[in-house]
């Protein structure tokens, strides 16, 4: 498990039914690209988050396949449709098999 991986998401607390909201997500993760070499000249192996998904009440909002070219501490901003009150689930999948998750509820205004 990568160390000190912490997700941070910004979701509005309320929305009108059918409104489109902007969601910002950040997760602290080194995103070791596999291109760097350590002091001895050996390549540091790749170890990144390779997939990020956002679901709302079980339906998919966005599914991002990520490659080493995504910066350290991956940041995504996107928009979601909110048809009803419910919960957003954010999931990050790491190369090493770890899965990081965060949830945020949203109520109707």
């Amino acid at each position: 498990m990568a160390e000190n991986v912490r997700p941070r998401v910004r979701v509005p607390k309320t929305a009108a039914a059918g409104e489109v909201v902007t969601i910002k997500t950040l997760i602290s993760h080194n995103m070791e690209s596999g291109q760097r070499k350590d002091g001895d000249g050996n390549s540091i192996p790749r170890s990144i988050i390779n997939r990020f998904t956002c679901d709302f009440n079980g339906q998919n909002v966005i599914d991002v396949k990520m490659e080493p070219a995504i910066s350290t501490n991956p940041y995504f901003e996107f928009e979601a449709l909110v048809p009803e009150a419910g919960e957003f689930t954010f999931t990050w999948y790491d190369d090493d098999g770890s899965v990081y998750e965060d949830t945020q509820p949203i109520t109707l205004a």
Partner: protein
Amino acid sequence: MHFTRRNALATGACALMLAGLPMRLSAAVEEKIAAFTGGAAVGEGDIRLTAPEIAENGNTVPIEVASDTAVSIMVLAMGNPTPGVAEFNFGALAGSRYASTRIRLAGTQDVVAIARLEDGSFVQASSTVKVTIGGCGG
């Protein structure tokens, strides 16, 4: 103005850079595009890629992709050791076909966004980003 040594160097460097710009697509890039499009032709149209003209730090270059009808948008960095950057797949509850993120660019290069639209066609947009400090650990 005096044609100083500094000016001569600058002109020389610019000329070299222009000469060195790779115009051919590398095999890796072609493969990735073919895998995404299934070999279909890629035209222009409903895809917008926003990237800065000059990136101070190649380790974190903000980019945005947007479209009206895209189902899936793939972003490639033509000059990186591995060209793939990300593939955004929009689900049923996507509020819009828009996404923004930060990427690493090894050096000055073209960033390309290819979108698969709802009607099955493919469109692309590209943007040249000048990078002052490379971002792939080099």
